[in-house]
């Protein structure tokens, strides 16, 4: 019996140690949704951007013939965005394109906007159905000498059967609006995180990774 005491005590102490570390880690709060803190002079500027997503390249910066890749999905009217520092930026995106299930449901939720929400056709939401996402608008900050900025909003898919709107080749768009605050000056990359490109690299190639289509820059001056 005494021979069992040592191993038993070792097992108990080991289990207690693991339990203690586990309890301490269990106390760690889960990461909250990314929220942009209010910085700089409040509301010194309030600027508005209006963008659109199209199922082709006929209505964006590539001209009415669609440029080199007329069949590629694209953002318009431009993918090069400029906004002032320490400002409130309100973005409205007219979503004309269809969609399906997103690969990573995390991008079906809103991150980094004021209030952590967006409005979809006037209704405030914090995310959309991951099974019906058209595109996302996602601003990334590379670790360069500038303030970090991360914003990601999902754009719901237009139903496949939606008829063309009057006087347009496209269906009636879904209007998505959100706001975020800029910080100091910097240059950021934004892109769509829904795999809407060609077959290269699991549909993350083609327009997905080409500036002027589903990828662009946001310069804070």
């Amino acid at each position: 019996m005494r021979r069992l005491l040592g191993p038993a005590l070792t097992i108990l102490l080991g289990a207690a140690f693991v339990a203690l570390i586990g309890w301490l880690l269990h106390q760690q709060p889960s990461p909250a949704a990314v929220a942009v803190p209010h910085q700089g002079a409040a509301d010194s500027h309030h600027v508005y951007l209006h963008l659109a997503t199209y199922p082709d390249s006929m209505a964006g910066e590539h001209g009415k013939d669609g440029g080199a890749e007329p069949d590629w999905v694209s953002y318009g009217p431009t993918t090069t965005l400029n906004v002032p520092r320490h400002s409130l930026v309100t973005v409205t995106i007219s979503q004309y394109d269809g969609g399906e299930a997103i690969t990573n449901p995390w991008f079906a939720r809103v991150h980094g906007t004021v209030g952590g929400s967006e409005t979809v056709d006037g209704k405030t939401v914090t995310g959309v159905d991951p099974e019906a996402v058209g595109h996302t608008f996602t601003i990334h900050a590379a670790p360069t000498a500038q303030d970090p900025l991360f914003v990601s909003v999902p754009l719901p898919a237009v139903p496949d059967e939606a008829p063309p709107a009057a006087g347009s080749d496209y269906p009636k768009p879904i209007e998505v609006t959100f706001s975020f605050r800029t910080k100091g000056p910097g240059k950021y990359v934004w892109n769509c995180e829904f795999p809407c490109g060609d077959g290269t690299y699991a549909k993350f190639g083609g327009p997905m990774s080409t500036r002027g289509y589903m990828s662009g820059t946001l310069t804070v001056t």
């Binding site: 040592g6 191993p7 070792t10 097992i11 760690q28 889960s30 590379a142 500038q146």
Partner: protein, 651 residues
């Protein structure tokens, strides 16, 4: 003027013995580390100002300050500094550094004796395995149900990364550290390592590395797994700085240790110990460090470039700045796959060494074993991109890398067959170390065959990033590597401590660990085949049963390892005293008395035969009795049977 006048070979040994070096130990090392860390932090704060990378600069400077301060406070630089000042160490100083007449205190100093360093490595390895094992228990506890909520996603990811890195670093050093340092010089008939001070330096650098590595837990964690992939590492919190600095320190330590062990084996083998008489374990350790020497600088380079990205706004890995994450992947895996064999080869050769002893047979086809090791070393640097099949990098190279990966299974199988051949018709003495050989054979065949599956490109596309991969590499690194290290510990424990490892707790631990291990990772193969991804905290409800089985198995491993820990500690303190050669083995380390004298051998041995001349199996089962058997003893000699000596005393 003669040549002797021109080249002074005797060191200048002016000045008195001792000085401050006799007051330095791990305590002053920690003090020096803390002081220099604070100074470096303040300096970095002043220099970095409000730069965007200020946090990373300060964190990195603090960690580097800690490492340098710790090593200085410990006394690691005493020798070079004294030499620079023209007052090289005296003979008395060298004896002090070697730990002469210092009792237990020598384990807490910058001690150069290879036996002390070996023991220090053993304790350090056990601490690291304990830390990694604790994390493994927590990971499996979290996965006990699909949405257990035990750990948050960020904590879980960090824990998985730290567990992976801790275990990889621990398994890299688990054989070449303790046994490569303690046993190899004895095995080759040397008095010490070629560079004793570098030996101690390599050990204490690892000690300095640990606080740096685990500081990641308090600096936002490492969200990118143990591989540290970019661009996540570029964007990660300050915990990534801990990762980078820890790897840099580790790479320096392995380079120093590798150069030292290589030089020792190449230049300090006993007279008569030709390459055909050199024990297979020495080959294993040599192959391991020869592989590590070019491999780890690759990892170091990868981290230096990442450091430039994070601290100076470089763009080596950031696509938007013209960088390329594939560069990191290539540099990482140029280290990462050779590193698998850095871990495996010494563990397997340690088991070969003891298999010959416990089967009372010569090693089956020594030449095939050596050729297999050489082939593995050669091929292991040609397979790295099989880790990148699914990454999109150079798809045209997938075929060639598939071929080299499948080729390397041939020499690996050669090692396997050598052990089987040694066992064949042997008179097996089924001790705890010998049981580890059986376990390794079982685990390694599962790990090896699943590795061949994963080397196949189409199948890898399907299984990549799944728990199937996790199970595969655990079967190789833990099932084969760690099992080999445990076998080596049980085998050389009497020589390292002068006491026998308790057999009963050892075997209880063995069965708990091996059953638990197979339950855990066979279950993991199942859920992996069903599509459970790695490094994801939540999984589908349909995978619950498989994960529950894996977690129960993991608890068995944990309990088994704790029993082994108890066995080691209890036996070390008051185990049965061991004779000089309790196993009746023929390699040179068993010819020195317990406790081993400071200079190992009263007279350096001369080797006249190989170490495996057991001849035909003996009729009488070996008995555990003190039985000094010299290298090159006559055929068929078991313990207690005496025999001719193959040594001559030479002065």
């Amino acid at each position: 003027m003669t040549v002797a006048d021109t080249y002074q070979t005797d060191p200048v040994t002016g000045g008195p013995d001792g000085g401050i070096m006799r007051r330095l130990n791990v305590g002053t090392g920690i003090l020096g580390g803390v002081v220099l860390a604070l100074a470096a932090n303040l300096l970095a704060d002043w220099l970095a100002g409000d730069a965007v990378h200020e946090v990373d600069v300060r964190a990195t400077a603090t960690m580097v300050g800690w490492a340098v301060g710790f090593m200085a406070g410990l006394g690691a630089f005493t020798g070079p500094v004294r030499w620079l000042l023209g007052r090289d160490l005296t003979h008395a100083d060298e004896l002090f550094l070697a730990g002469k007449d210092q009792g237990e205190g020598r384990y807490f100093r910058f001690t150069t004796d290879h036996k002390v360093v070996g023991i220090q490595y053993l304790v350090l390895t056990m601490v690291m395995l304990g830390a990694g094992g604790t994390m493994a228990m927590l990971i499996r506890t979290d996965l006990i149900s699909p949405n257990s909520g035990f750990l948050g996603p960020q904590t879980y990811n960090s824990l998985v990364g730290l567990h992976g890195l801790t275990m990889i670093l621990a398994t890299i050093i688990m054989v070449t550290g303790p046994f490569g340092n303690f046993v190899v010089p004895l095995m080759i008939g040397a008095r010490d390592m070629a560079f004793p001070r570098l030996n101690a330096l390599s050990l204490w650098l690892l000690f300095a590395m640990l606080p740096v590595l685990y500081s990641a837990a308090f600096l936002g964690g490492i969200p990118m797994g143990w591989v540290g992939y970019t661009p996540i590492a570029d964007q990660g919190p300050a915990g990534v700085d801990s990762y980078m600095v820890a790897i840099l320190i580790f790479a320096v330590s392995t380079a120093v240790a590798g150069a030292n062990i290589t030089t020792t084996i190449l230049t300090m083998r006993a007279r008569g110990m030709t390459w055909t008489r050199t024990p297979i374990f020495v080959y294993g350790v040599l192959a391991s460090v020869v592989l590590a020497l070019p491999a780890f600088p690759m990892f170091m380079a990868a981290e230096i470039l990442l450091l430039v990205d994070r601290l100076m706004g470089g763009g080596f890995y950031i696509p938007s700045l013209g960088g390329q994450p594939w560069l990191y992947q290539n540099l990482f895996w140029l280290m990462g796959h050779p590193e698998v064999y850095v871990i495996l080869i010494p563990a397997v050769t340690a088991l070969m060494e003891l298999t010959a002893v416990f089967a009372r047979k010569p090693l089956y086809s020594f030449r095939i074993a050596v050729l297999s090791i050489i082939a593995i070393v050669g091929l292991s640097v040609t397979v790295w991109a099989h880790h990148m099949f699914a990454s999109g990098w150079a798809p045209d190279l997938n075929g060639p890398f598939m071929l080299t990966t499948e080729l390397i299974s041939i020499p690996t199988g050669g090692l396997f067959l050598v052990i089987l051949g040694t066992l064949w018709r042997g008179r097996i003495w089924a001790t705890f170390p010998m049981m580890c050989t059986y376990a390794m054979l079982w685990n390694f065949i599962i790990g090896g065959i699943t590795g061949i599956y994963l080397s196949d490109v189409p199948l890898d596309y399907q299984l990549h990033g799944s728990m199937f991969v996790t199970a595969h590499f655990h079967y190789t690194l833990m099932g084969a590597g760690l099992t080999g290290a445990i076998g080596a510990l049980a085998y050389w424990f009497p020589k390292m401590t002068g006491r026998m490892l308790g057999d009963t707790p050892g075997l209880v631990s063995f069965w708990l660990v091996q059953i638990g291990f197979n339950v855990t990772f066979l279950g993991m193969f199942m859920v992996g085949l069903e599509g459970q991804p790695r490094r994801v905290v939540h999984y589908g409800a349909s995978l619950h049963t498989g994960n529950l089985i894996s977690t129960i198995g993991a608890y068995f491993i944990g309990v088994g390892m704790l029993v082994l820990l108890y066995d080691v500690v209890a036996s070390w303190r008051h185990g049965k005293p061991a004779s000089m050669n309790p196993w009746g083995a023929k390699t040179l380390e068993w010819t020195v008395p317990n406790p081993i004298p400071l200079e190992n051998f009263a007279v350096l041995p001369v080797v006249t035969e190989d170490a495996y001349g057991y001849g035909e199996p003996v009729r009488d089962a070996p008995a555990r009795a003190p039985a000094p058997v010299a290298a090159g003893a006559g055929p068929g000699q078991g313990p207690g049977q005496g025999g001719g000596t193959g040594e001559e005393a030479r002065t």
